[in-house]
């Protein structure tokens, strides 16, 4: 009984959104707003239940109950946390800049570790022997390595901005870089199709199999 109801509700939701394909219409907008409301409600409640309540409220109460002097840390966290909300006021906007400033500062300070931990292994992994001997498939191996090193250098040269290459031959390097980047962007495009279709197929599958009961499965 419940299941049948659920499937119908789900089907109506799905079809209402699909109606956008013909044109924007009131039914679509209605369900768009329902979705927006559901999302906001869900995120707010989950943030309270799983982040703020266990990690802030319960601890604050606990600290006050046992007389732990650390309770002021959680009071400060609350005051700083409230500063975010001044973003919505034109007059008091500057107060929110304190919260934003701290947040940006933390992000900036961490960026050094973040980027260097990411790229140091990338740099050392790019030290490829461009001539390999005495291994199987050495021609292919050497070619791949040479190709990779060349590509990295060419693409990097495309992003040099403070000088121009003087010699005609060198000018070809950034051009080659842009062309080689296109292979990568082709791969981006090719990979996009799967993501876009995955959900669409899932929806169609639901409509056909669970709602209309067509086909096996």
């Amino acid at each position: 009984m419940n299941l049948e109801l659920f499937i119908w509700v789900e089907a109506i939701c799905t079809l209402a959104i699909f109606s956008f394909l013909f044109r924007e219409n009131p039914v679509y907008r209605l369900f768009e707003h329902i979705f927006l409301g559901l999302t906001i409600g869900f995120v707010l409640m989950k943030t309270w239940l799983e982040v703020l309540k266990p990690k802030w409220w319960d601890r604050l109460i606990y600290c006050i109950e046992v007389g732990d002097p650390h309770f002021w840390i959680w009071i400060i966290a609350f005051i700083l946390g409230m500063m975010w909300y001044f973003q919505l006021s034109r007059r008091w906007y500057w107060i929110s800049r304190i919260a934003i400033g701290i947040s940006l500062g933390v992000g900036a300070g961490m960026e050094f570790k973040n980027q260097f931990m990411l790229i140091m292994p990338q740099i050392t992994a790019s030290f490829k022997p461009i001539l390999v001997r005495n291994t199987q498939g050495m021609l292919q191996f050497s070619f791949n390595n040479f190709f990779m090193v060349f590509t990295i250098v060419a693409v990097l040269s495309y992003f040099f901005f403070s000088f121009e290459f003087k010699y005609k031959g060198m000018q070809l390097l950034p051009r080659a870089g842009r062309l080689l980047l296109m292979i990568s962007f082709g791969a981006f495009f090719g990979n996009t199709v799967m993501t876009r279709f995955a959900v669409f197929i899932d929806r169609i599958q639901f409509l056909i199999q669970q709602w209309l009961h067509i086909g096996g499965g």
Binding site: F116, I119, F127, F159
Partner: protein, 258 residues
């Protein structure tokens, strides 16, 4: 490796010093050289085309809030508006984030005034549609269909809507220039636009067209970092080649581990 080693400390020092010195030089008024990108010619061509046809220009700032990318796009907007205003053209700016609106309004008023055409400024040309991506995209597409701009500029950060708006722009036959740091969207812009500035080129274009010393100095300073990485890779690969051929250790690799 929980903390930085000497190689990393050295690289951080070099990079920071190079960027800060360049910014300082630029602030002192030193004219730092930035290469003229091919994309910049495309921007001028697009404005020229709009002038020939006497049609408006559309300049979208993308999804970003008030962050450095949006500010960089805004200096390009200032250049485009000032140039277009001299020829008596309107510039339409669709806005995604409400907080961007007042900043753009001030910028546009100033730009029209600088160009000597304060009469052309109309707040109605700066349009806040929605901060829902799909709604915004269809509103921008709708605007293109109605206003028929001769040139479209897509600068800033984009999501899936790039596909919808760039396609519509191509359909109405506008010259289109895109510049985005959102790498996933670059293929769609390449397909639908006449020229696409990729990633960092957005900042380079902005630094070239404006005289923001911080941006210019930082960009020139960054080049040292990139040159250093390039050199390391070339030397490291040569080292690795000798290491496999002759069996001697790759000292560049050892150096980075120090």
């Amino acid at each position: 490796m929980e903390h930085a080693n000497w190689a990393i400390r050295f690289l951080i020092f070099l990079l920071c010093a190079s960027i800060l010195i360049r910014i300082w030089q630029a602030r002192k008024g030193k004219k730092l050289f930035i290469r003229r990108l091919p994309g910049l010619d495309a921007i001028d061509e697009a404005i020229g085309r709009a002038t020939e046809l006497g049609k408006p220009i559309l300049f979208s700032l993308g999804l970003g809030g008030l962050n450095p990318t949006t500010f960089a796009s805004m200096s390009v907007l200032r250049y485009v508006t000032t140039t277009a205003a001299k020829y008596g053209l309107r510039v339409i700016v669709p806005i995604f984030r409400p907080e961007v609106y007042p900043v753009v309004e001030d910028l546009m008023r100033e730009a029209y005034t600088v160009a000597g055409r304060p009469d052309l400024f109309s707040p109605d040309d700066i349009r806040f549609f929605s901060d829902q991506q799909s709604t915004w995209a269809s509103a921008v597409a709708g605007t293109m269909e109605r206003e028929r701009p001769a040139a479209n500029f897509f600068f800033g950060e984009y999501g899936f809507e790039s596909l919808i708006i760039a396609e519509t722009g191509r359909h109405i036959g506008a010259i289109q220039i895109a510049a985005t740091v959102s790498y996933y969207q670059i293929p769609f812009f390449i397909l639908a636009c006449d020229y696409t500035l990729m990633g960092e080129e957005l900042y380079a274009a902005s630094a070239y067209l404006s005289d923001n010393p911080v941006l210019r100095g930082s960009l020139v300073g960054q080049d040292l970092g990139k040159i250093l990485i390039t050199l390391l890779i070339v030397l490291g690969s040569i080292g690795a080649t000798f290491a496999t051929l002759k069996g001697i250790p790759n000292w560049i690799l050892e150096l980075l581990k120090y």
